[in-house]
């Protein structure tokens, strides 16, 4: 045949080198975005540790923290400052960071694995089922199942149970994204109704307490809570980051993913289970923080694109930054009154996000 003879392919070395350079430059730009977020996050943590009713400087904050580790080099500011920073401020700041990382990371994974830009970590019925678990203990709680620990345990138990039921039920239908979304939505309504039923029957005080619980709040965070959440977030985010390339493939269509050797069913169930675990743990400890999980991946996408190998770590850090910002505002805007940061994320985040969407030239989706 005459076809094969003239198709001998000669690669263009100059163009190839240029393309390689361009690709490396593009990746470098993405890394730069991620790395810039780290000092911003640390600075915000310091600002958050500094602001409050007691007048402290950022220098005080760093000295006090370093004093704990190097007592010889860094002198303690005062015992009171020590106590304020270590007992009150730091757990709250670290919790805001962890929750931001977890929620935004889970949001990023859920959007890509369900191939839906509206997906949100609270999607699989987690907020409503955790709310139900908490309400159950607040209103009916007795014995060991009462008090803060009981509320957290019950909320976590129901959140995990319901997300497992959703993942399990949709597995019968091949774990297709739409099935998961629809069952998740139905479960959300089911548990919302159950919670309302309990609240309707209960005393006004108990109903208020259960409603207050749902609002994302960082006050009164304890070191023990941080210590439980930290390993959960660390391990889960590590697992999700490890699967970030496969997540790209998954969001390119189930057929393509299958033909590239991915077990689509197993991967999607795994990713959703890990992301749900992270979300359930966060919601159980601090209540519902809206918007962070939905919006942070989108904000990062505008800057660095949708490659999850970069988008996932960027979203995590952006989540921490957003939640720390919200907490900072929540504690200063009506000082000395402290607002719940779960409300501020929506109040501040929504206009900011709308402005970004309107200014966007490239099509995102």
């Amino acid at each position: 045949m005459n076809q094969s003879s003239d198709t001998t392919f000669k690669p263009d070395i100059i163009k190839a080198t240029a393309l390689k350079k361009e690709q490396r430059k593009a990746n470098l730009k993405k890394w730069r975005f991620i790395i810039i977020l780290i000092p911003i996050m640390i600075l915000l943590m310091a600002i958050n540790a500094q602001t409050g009713s007691a007048n402290l400087s950022i220098g005080d904050v760093f000295t006090t923290i370093l004093h704990k580790f190097f007592p010889d080099t860094f002198a303690s500011v005062s015992d009171m400052v020590n106590k304020i920073i270590w007992q009150l401020r730091l757990p709250r700041v670290l919790m805001a960071m962890l929750a931001g990382i977890g929620l935004a990371g889970a949001g990023c994974v859920m959007q890509s694995s369900l191939k839906n830009p509206l997906a949100d970590p609270l999607l699989l019925g987690i907020s409503s089922s955790a709310g139900f678990g908490a309400t159950l203990v607040i209103i009916l709680g007795v014995g060991i199942l009462s008090g803060t620990a009981g509320i957290i345990t019950s909320a976590f138990f129901f959140a995990i149970l319901v997300s497992l039921v959703i993942i399990g039920l949709s597995s019968f239908k091949g774990a297709k994204p739409v099935t998961m979304l629809l069952i998740g939505l139905a479960m959300t309504y089911l548990f919302q109704s159950l919670t309302q039923l309990l609240q309707y029957q209960s005393s006004a005080e108990a109903a208020k307490a259960s409603m207050m619980w749902m609002v994302g709040d960082l006050s009164g965070v304890e070191w023990s809570e941080v210590a439980i959440l930290f390993p959960i977030i660390l391990v889960s985010c590590g697992l999700l980051f490890w699967k970030s390339w496969d997540l790209n493939i998954l969001s390119s269509g189930d057929e393509t993913a299958k033909s590239l050797g991915i077990n689509v069913f197993r991967l999607r169930v795994f990713l959703m289970a890990v992301a749900s675990l992270v979300t359930a743990a966060i919601v159980s400890f601090i209540g519902v923080i809206a918007f962070v999980g939905l919006v942070c991946p989108h904000i990062c996408r505008m800057f660095i694109g949708s490659d999850n190998r970069f988008l996932f770590p960027a979203s995590c850090l952006a989540g921490a930054v957003l939640l720390l910002c919200a907490d900072c505002v929540a504690r200063t805007v009506l000082s000395p009154v402290i607002l719940p940061p779960g409300v501020i994320t929506g109040l501040l985040g929504a206009p900011f996000f709308i402005q970004l969407v309107m200014r966007q030239r490239r099509e995102l989706i």
Partner: protein, 268 residues
């Protein structure tokens, strides 16, 4: 790589799409699947790549039942080019083609993967759009990206599902020549579902004509593409002329009023 499809049947629900299809493919061969819409071409290709599980029958890859081969192993042997890109969130052409390296690498891509990707990007003339997002490309460009991804997989069998339908005539010929070149040079094989009978006639070593999930005719283009067979499969009257190189060229003329399978005569 030998591929044997043995008595393959598949149906969506109770609606049968493939009814006992059997054929073999040997290395260095391009096989075109032709047939009317809904004749089972795409389904057959998806069954071969284990994207769909056939209800009965077997697919043997080098004599081994494909169901026993792990997914990732199978992905190193077969690549599938779907009808179009379905990315939920757009990523760049470069990163899309890089996904084709997934079966060969672990959780991250290596330097040699990058070189491989650049090679196929050049092979399909995607250099200038390599850093663009796939949703900013035309349908034809997207098809070339998907073909590039499949080639980055370095498979022994290429499965293409109407993968050149949106290409202009120049790129259609160029892509087909690239594919034929690769098939002969690397001694791999290609199975392609295709609507353009003239392209099939020019490049296929063998043509399989499907209708209602059954193979009607199987053979080299000059035997398959006869006026009778085209009436039988498509219900279309066509002029078939043998070109100087011995390949038939097909000009569809009009719909054959009496559809052979329906046996309904349309009278006034």
């Amino acid at each position: 790589m030998r591929l044997n499809v043995q008595n393959l049947s598949f149906g969506y629900g109770r609606f049968p799409v493939l009814k006992g299809v059997s054929f073999n493919i040997v290395p260095g061969e391009i096989v075109c699947l032709v047939g009317p819409n809904g004749s089972g071409k795409s389904t057959l290709i998806r069954c071969i790549d284990s994207i769909l599980q056939p209800q009965s029958g077997k697919i043997l890859v080098n004599g081994e039942d494909s169901r026993r081969i792990p997914r990732q192993e199978l992905a190193r042997q077969m690549a599938y080019v779907p009808q179009g890109i379905q990315q939920a969130f757009p990523i760049t052409v470069f990163d899309t083609v890089m996904m084709g390296r997934r079966p060969h690498s672990s959780w991250r891509s290596s330097e040699s993967d990058v070189n491989k990707v650049i090679e196929v990007i050049q092979l399909l003339g995607l250099d200038d759009i390599a850093m663009k997002n796939c949703n900013e490309l035309s349908g034809g460009q997207q098809q070339r990206v998907m073909i590039a991804m499949a080639l980055a997989q370095e498979p022994d069998i290429l499965l293409l599902d109407e993968a050149t339908s949106a290409l202009d005539i120049c790129y259609q010929l160029e892509v087909m020549e690239t594919l034929t070149g690769l098939v002969k040079e690397r001694d791999i094989s290609a199975v392609m579902a295709i609507h353009d009978l003239n392209i099939a006639s020019r490049y296929a070593d063998r043509v399989i004509m499907l209708k209602n999930g059954e193979i009607i005719m199987e053979g080299p283009p000059e035997e398959s593409f006869t006026e009778e067979n085209i009436i039988k499969v498509y219900g279309v009257n066509a002029l078939v002329k043998i070109d100087d190189d011995g390949k038939p060229s097909i000009v569809p003329v009009r719909r054959n009023k009496i559809k052979p399978d329906l046996k309904i005569s349309i009278s006034g």
